[in-house]
Symmetry: C2
Subunit: 84 residues, 2 copies
């Protein structure tokens, strides 16, 4: 596998996976008061545009990670509603 | 300007700019307890790899936004130390 692809996979794994500790922290503490809703709203919209950008650029790495990141982003927005 | 470039600029502006409301919220409330340090640590490392990926792919959009995002990420990590 091409080293650039491996690098992109690692980059995406980190930025996408980074949301998981935040989700786990909210579930553990049952508190999301300090988290900005706007942060995750803008982030989610940005990820949607990155997905379209990746499709137009035929960049499989960008296409692969952004739907996952967007889903995790939506989970946090949901948790923010539950634990305002 | 090419529409794909404009899309990439918009995507990056959203994902990079999304950190600003979070920074402002921490400064306003002087509280970052609900924010996961691991979230921003992994995110920052991922952004560093995305920057290298963008350089290797010669993708100016990825090269442009990731240093900014990384800087904002580091600001939040700093604020997390000040307001644990």
């Amino acid at each position: 596998m091409d080293s650039v692809i491996i690098l992109g996979l690692a980059a995406g794994a980190l930025t996408t996976g980074s949301t998981i500790p935040q989700i786990l922290k909210i579930l553990k503490t049952k508190s999301a008061g300090d988290i900005s809703t706007l942060f995750f709203l803008f982030m989610g919209c940005g990820m949607l545009l990155w997905l379209i950008y990746g499709i137009l650029r035929s960049d499989i790495i960008i296409i692969l990670w952004n739907p996952l990141s967007l889903s995790l982003c939506l989970i946090i927005l949901g948790l923010k509603r539950v634990y305002p």
